[in-house]
């Protein structure tokens, strides 16, 4: 399957765009998606933290990913 990953803040610069599409095996979990993104974009590993959100909720590493999910990569937040 191919999933779309939304980017915000510094991740937009790392992706050179506001989203990327990435191929994953069916039934992949959040941890696998994160590893695939880090392999494709090694600069992600230099961030203080980087979390995945699935359908607007922070996702645990074992959260199963579906093609229709809205997925976002959340670099360290700095609101307020």
């Amino acid at each position: 399957m191919t999933v779309n990953v939304l980017a915000f803040g510094i991740v937009k610069e790392i992706f050179s765009g506001s989203s990327v599409r990435i191929s994953l095996p069916e039934g992949a979990r959040a941890a696998e998606l994160k590893a695939a993104l880090e392999q494709a974009y090694p600069r992600l590993q230099q961030l203080a933290s980087c979390l995945l959100a699935v359908n607007s909720e922070y996702a645990a590493p074992d959260k199963q990913i579906y093609e229709r999910d809205e997925i976002a990569l959340i670099p360290p937040v700095s609101g307020g």
């Binding site: 939304l6 915000f8 803040g9 510094i10 610069e13 230099q46 961030l47 203080a48 959100a53 607007s56 909720e57 922070y58 976002a72 959340i74 670099p75 360290p76 937040v77 700095s78 609101g79 307020g80």
Partner: protein, 138 residues
């Protein structure tokens, strides 16, 4: 009552205070986050705030809900600004009302501290010679 809001328009702290007023309230506590002119000795020209809006609203609602369940509050407002902000402009307003001040102080502090940890909003500091996404790197 909760009022959660993200906007690229100017925030209005006075309106937030007005909106949390309640006849049973003995105190209102407000946090107003503003844009500072210097960071670590470097002059800041402006800030740029970006939000992942649906998730940011959902996380802000969770904070308001948690505050209402932990303290006997009457009303809570969390408003956050996005886009380009100049020095002195208001980036965030949190206002809470309660019968007694301890609950108002504690809930307001909880709300801003948690917002800074969980709400997907990002701030870029624009200096004379560089631009830095705050907290991105260790």
């Amino acid at each position: 009552m909760t009022d959660i809001y993200i906007t690229s328009e100017r925030l209005d702290p006075a309106a937030c205070i007005e909106a949390v007023m309640h006849p049973a309230s003995g105190g209102i506590d407000v946090f107003i986050g503003t844009v500072r002119d210097f960071t670590q000795g470097k002059r800041v020209l402006r800030l740029e705030f970006e939000a992942y809006e649906p998730m940011a609203l959902s996380e802000m609602k969770k904070i308001a809900g948690e505050a209402l369940s932990r303290w006997p509050l009457h009303k809570i407002i969390i408003h956050h600004r996005t886009g380009l902000l100049k020095i002195g402009e208001v980036a965030v307003v949190i206002a809470v009302s309660a019968a007694h001040r301890a609950a108002a102080f504690e809930a307001c502090r909880y709300a801003i501290d948690t917002l800074k940890q969980t709400v997907p909003i990002w701030k870029k500091e624009v200096f004379e010679n560089e631009e830095v996404w705050v907290a991105a790197h260790p």
